[in-house]
Amino acid sequence: MDDSLLGLLRFGPDGWGDELLAGLQITVALALATAPIGLVLGFILALARRSERAMARVPATIFTTVFKGLPELITLFIVYYGSSLALAWLLGLFFDEPIFEISSFVAGMVALGAVSASFASEVFMGALAGIPRGQLEAADALGLSRWARMRNVILPQVMRLALPGLGNLWLVLLKDTALVSVIALPDLLRRTFIAVGSTKEPFFFFTVAIVIYFTISMLSMAVFQLLEARYARGYSK
């Protein structure tokens, strides 16, 4: 019994090992492609939310409130179906036949990117608030340009303060990629589902999927601990 179950994980045409591995690659690729969006957009959103200009502050606050409050799954549906409809309508003005569709990978990147950027902005807001005013005044007194002040004074300190929160967000993002399986992206969970459909072994295959997700979560946590130690070098006693 057990042998035959493990045999289902063989690589090659009669096993599901290579399919699951290909799914894992898509899961990791989606998370890696989305993380920079969350990071950069999140930092910009944090700066905008702290801005004194209402033109910047109000839209950024609305954006983060909406994407922090909505279930990720409904955001994903709205981006996926909505952008397909909008694109079809737009292209329909010029072409008779649909020429391309939004892929579920891109829809996942956009939806999860907006969500993680909103949460990242929260982390960055906290980190920016943790930098003493004197640091900015000292940078100005040294005659640093705004850009140099940002790059050499603010960013290195923000990274140290934000790292624990960002590590947390990376884990959330990794788990949220599983939702994209619902719009047919052949990620790890989707391929597990297909394997279940053909082998009728749901308990075994979903357990395998959970073990794989758990392993990458643990690995990620180990990496973030190393990073945190590195950024805290100047502060360790």
Binding site: T65, L70, L85, L189, P202, F203
Partner: protein, 251 residues
């Protein structure tokens, strides 16, 4: 009477409300069971027995480190594989229903998060609180009930509110295993009518629920921690005991 409504709401509005109520039921039942299970696991995490503490750590890491959707699939499809066994022990009637499976998996999931919140709150209290109680001749249970619990509850309030909101959002995955919660009803209405705007109305309902809760929770916390603020202190944020542990417990 419903002329003023957009046609999709006139037709499917009451379905959306039904779904909204199912979402509320899912969340409330899971969160309440989650308190009980979470408290037990938190106790296990703080146990001096290495095996118990290790097991509780593993539970928390496992449920926090894997997608809720995968956990739901494992319970709904995976447990369903052994329907013969469940029939024998008389649990099949329970597990056959996707709503119950969703409640079960949400409870197991939120218990892991709540356990960390409770542990963080109890451990955030200074040791002197325990020692003071012991010096008064109180039993450990009495110290916990009379001294530790009331203070820890205040610490846990904010992160627990965050977890409640995360659960509301997370509960939307139940629609994938044919539970007709708010998102489930929305998908049904969309496949009936192909009117895309129904998603926006559902999104609006979710946002109203989450924002209302967030504000009510803030007000509640302000009210319950008013004795911890000084009168001249306007920035209530600094004085709220949850402010520090909120970040810690969510990590």
């Amino acid at each position: 009477m419903t002329d003023w409504l957009p046609s999709i709401l006139a037709e499917h509005g009451d379905d959306l409300i039904d779904g909204f109520l199912i979402t509320l039921q899912l969340v409330i039942i899971s969160m309440l069971f989650g308190i009980v299970l979470g408290a037990i696991i938190a106790r296990g995490r703080m146990s001096k027995n290495k095996a118990v503490a290790g097991l509780a750590w593993f539970y928390v890491a496992l449920f926090r480190g894997t997608p809720l959707l995968a956990q739901l699939y494992l319970i709904y499809y995976g447990l369903g594989q052994f329907s013969g066994f469940w029939r024998d022990v008389g649990l099949w009637g329970f597990l056959r229903d996707p709503f119950n499976c969703a409640v079960l998996s949400f409870t197991l999931n939120t218990a892991a998060y709540q356990a960390e919140i409770f542990r963080g709150a109890v451990q955030a209290l200074p040791k002197g609180q325990w020692e003071g109680g012991a010096a008064l001749g109180m039993s450990r249970f009495m110290v916990f009930r009379k001294i530790v619990l009331p203070q820890a509850t205040l610490y846990a309030l904010r992160p627990w509110g965050n977890e409640l909101i995360l659960m509301i959002k997370g509960s939307a995955v139940a629609s994938v295993v044919t539970v007709y919660d708010l998102l489930g009803e929305t998908r049904l209405a969309y496949s009936d009518t192909f009117r895309f705007d129904v998603y926006f109305y559902a999104a609006g309902l979710y946002l109203i629920l989450v924002e209302t809760l967030r504000r009510v929770w803030n007000a509640l916390e302000q009210r319950l921690t008013r004795h911890l603020r000084r009168e001249d202190d306007n920035s209530a944020k600094n004085a709220a005991p949850g402010a520090g542990t909120a970040a810690a417990a969510q990590l």
